[in-house]
């Protein structure tokens, strides 16, 4: 249905391959590879949300990580605003670290337990806005806390004093701190209670509208994807087996794997 207009493309992934070597034999040679991501191509439009769905181990997290150089790219290219960022040096990639942010799956694990909320959220500010003084950073952090639905009095607390949902809000605040364009949400709700999941998804949607963000939303749960995505990529065993708009995927899934994923989604009956 939708013809993607090139001008509008924020991110384009072409024939991406990420292979991890396996050491075997007496001399532990690199004889074999795990093809975590195997020849994947897709595009993300500015302002849209692309859902990336697949069971665990399908390679979706690897794709997310390879976009911010947390995973090594074996082959293929990643273009951000038509700029090839695949082989960029750490230094020239640095500005993109401000534009692209990540939200992690496990809010218990993604926040350093030894740091306060202020320290956690201000960390990206310290990196990308070195010139800011402490009061300015503090003000910004307080602002962000309010934006994600927390109170500014929480600023000097430690992560273990918060619930899972609240922690994920801190994670989101951290991602928003440097005013990014593009956020990779790596299963941000999968370890949360269902009721909390909805709150977080709503928060993300609100923020997208307010701040004109682009999301790559990774999940193993089609129900979540359905709610938030404009366009859906279905992945299994390192390959994208089906990609289409959210609507068409749900109405007429082509691929058998997609069908089986859909079958597993609990649907509330409309009756």
């Amino acid at each position: 249905m939708t013809e993607i207009i090139p001008k509008n493309t924020l991110l384009e992934v072409r024939n991406l391959k990420v292979h991890f070597p396996v050491l075997t034999g007496i001399f532990r040679r690199k004889n074999d590879f795990i093809r975590a991501v195997d020849d994947v191509s897709f595009k993300v439009d500015r302002g849209s949300t692309v859902g990336l769905v697949g069971e665990s181990g399908s390679g979706k997290t690897t794709i997310g990580r390879s976009l911010v150089k947390l995973a090594p790219v074996t082959e293929g290219s990643i273009l951000y605003e038509n700029e090839d960022i695949t082989q960029m040096s750490t230094k020239s990639f640095f500005p993109y670290r401000k534009k692209i942010q990540m939200i992690f799956q496990d809010p218990y694990n993604s926040l350093n337990p030894r740091l306060t909320v202020y320290q956690i959220i201000s960390e990206p500010l310290e990196i990308h806005f070195i010139e800011w003084d402490k009061t300015r950073k503090r003000k910004r952090v307080e602002e962000l806390l309010q934006k994600v639905g927390l109170e500014s009095k929480h600023i000097d607390r430690y992560p273990h004093e918060f619930s899972g949902g609240q922690r994920q809000r801190i994670g989101i605040a951290r991602a928003l701190a440097v005013e990014p364009e593009f956020i990779i949400c790596d299963e941000p709700v999968s370890s949360l209670d269902v009721s909390v999941q909805a709150q977080i998804i709503n928060l993300l949607q609100d923020l997208q509208e307010e701040l004109a963000l682009t999301y790559l939303f990774i999940a193993h749960d089609l129900a979540v994807i359905e709610h938030i995505s404009d366009y859906v990529l279905v992945m299994t065993k390192g390959k994208i087996v089906e990609q289409a708009t959210a609507e068409s995927i749900y109405q007429s899934p082509q691929n058998n794997y997609t069908k089986s994923l859909l079958a597993a989604v609990p649907h509330l009956s409309t009756k």
Binding site: L23, T24, G25, I26, F27, R28
Partner: protein, 324 residues
């Protein structure tokens, strides 16, 4: 499993190479050499010393000395002991066996004492016995081995119940077969106890923890539910499961003891590998030191290997990992 064993043994090669190189280098840093003490003897002419230097290859540059040695090692010739004037291999044989024997008796001693104690401490958890044995274990872990060895010698000297040091008695050569056996055993008693005491403490603690874990296991509850006698549960089910992980520690204990008995061997004058290395090092008897250290490293690696194999054997759930 075979590739695993091979790989482990293969790692020995760079290890031995590195260690011998290191030891060789360190020994060459120390001033003087094997012949230095001879230089202080008044009736030895300088020409004689130069002749000896030539004979021992000490006049060659260091790296040449090392490679000459390496070359002969590759042909399984470990060189000559400068002190004893015999091939090093001949010297090592008895020493290794003596050290091995001592390690073995002390492990056995430790197990025989520690396992029942650990079991009792677990069964009567938090009782006076448990507390007492725990404090004894702490004490045993904290006594320096050599201190214990001195005390043991003192006791032997005061009471005369045990021979002081050595491996056999003076009149060993004139004994009958059976009294020879008794003689060796009586010489082993004190060093065995001294070395064993440290391990008793740690084995006991492990055993106690294992046993407590096993008591809580489901099969115990099931057995209780079926009305099996408590004693039978403990012995038949719990003990067997608790003891398994310990068997695997056998290899580790062995390798630890091989390097750990050095001080005790010195203090108690036990003719083992450790004593030989120590004395040869002091005398700068290079080839003996090199070969003996190679030997003890090999034993260490083999001990660890045995530990891994026994572990896999006694617990089928453990496979040989691909990445270790």
């Amino acid at each position: 499993m075979i590739p695993f064993i091979f790989r482990r043994l293969f790692t020995l090669v760079p290890l031995l190479f590195g260690i011998t190189l290191l030891v060789f280098f360190l020994m060459s840093l120390a001033p003087g050499d094997f012949l230095t003490p001879i230089k202080q003897q008044r009736d030895i002419s300088e020409e004689y010393i130069i002749e000896l230097e030539k004979q021992f290859g000490l006049d060659k540059p260091l790296y040449q000395q090392y490679f000459l040695w390496l070359k002969s090692v590759l042909t399984l010739d470990f060189g000559y002991s400068w002190t004893y004037k015999v091939p090093v291999t001949e010297l090592l044989g008895n020493r290794i066996l003596a050290t091995f024997l001592l390690s073995f008796t002390s492990i056995t001693f430790a197990w025989v004492i520690a396992i029942p104690m650990g079991v009792l401490a677990a069964i009567y958890q938090n009782s006076i016995f448990d507390r007492l044995s725990a404090s004894l274990a702490y004490a045993a872990l904290s006594i320096p081995e050599f201190f214990l060895a001195i005390v043991a010698i003192y006791v032997a000297a005061q009471t005369g119940w045990f021979p002081i040091g050595g491996f056999t008695s003076i009149d060993y050569e004139f004994m009958s077969k059976s009294s020879r056996l008794i003689d060796i055993v009586s010489h082993l008693i004190l060093p065995t106890i001294v070395i064993g005491i440290g391990s008793i403490a740690s084995i006991m603690r492990i055993m106690r923890a294992n046993f407590i874990d096993a008591i809580r296991a489901e099969f115990v509850i099931t057995a209780r539910a079926k009305g099996v006698q408590e004693g039978i549960i403990m012995f038949k089910h719990v003990l067997r499961n608790a003891i398994n992980p310990l068997i695997s520690s056998f290899g580790f204990a062995l390798s630890a003891l091989l390097s750990g008995s050095l001080l005790v061997e010195i203090v108690m004058n036990y003719p083992g590998l450790g004593q030989l290395i120590y004395q040869s090092l002091l005398r700068e008897d290079q080839f003996v030191v090199l070969a003996a250290i190679m030997m003890s490293c090999t034993l260490l690696v083999i001990g660890n290997l045995i530990a891994d194999i026994i572990l896999a054997w006694s617990d089928p759930r453990i496979r040989f990992e691909r990445d270790t």
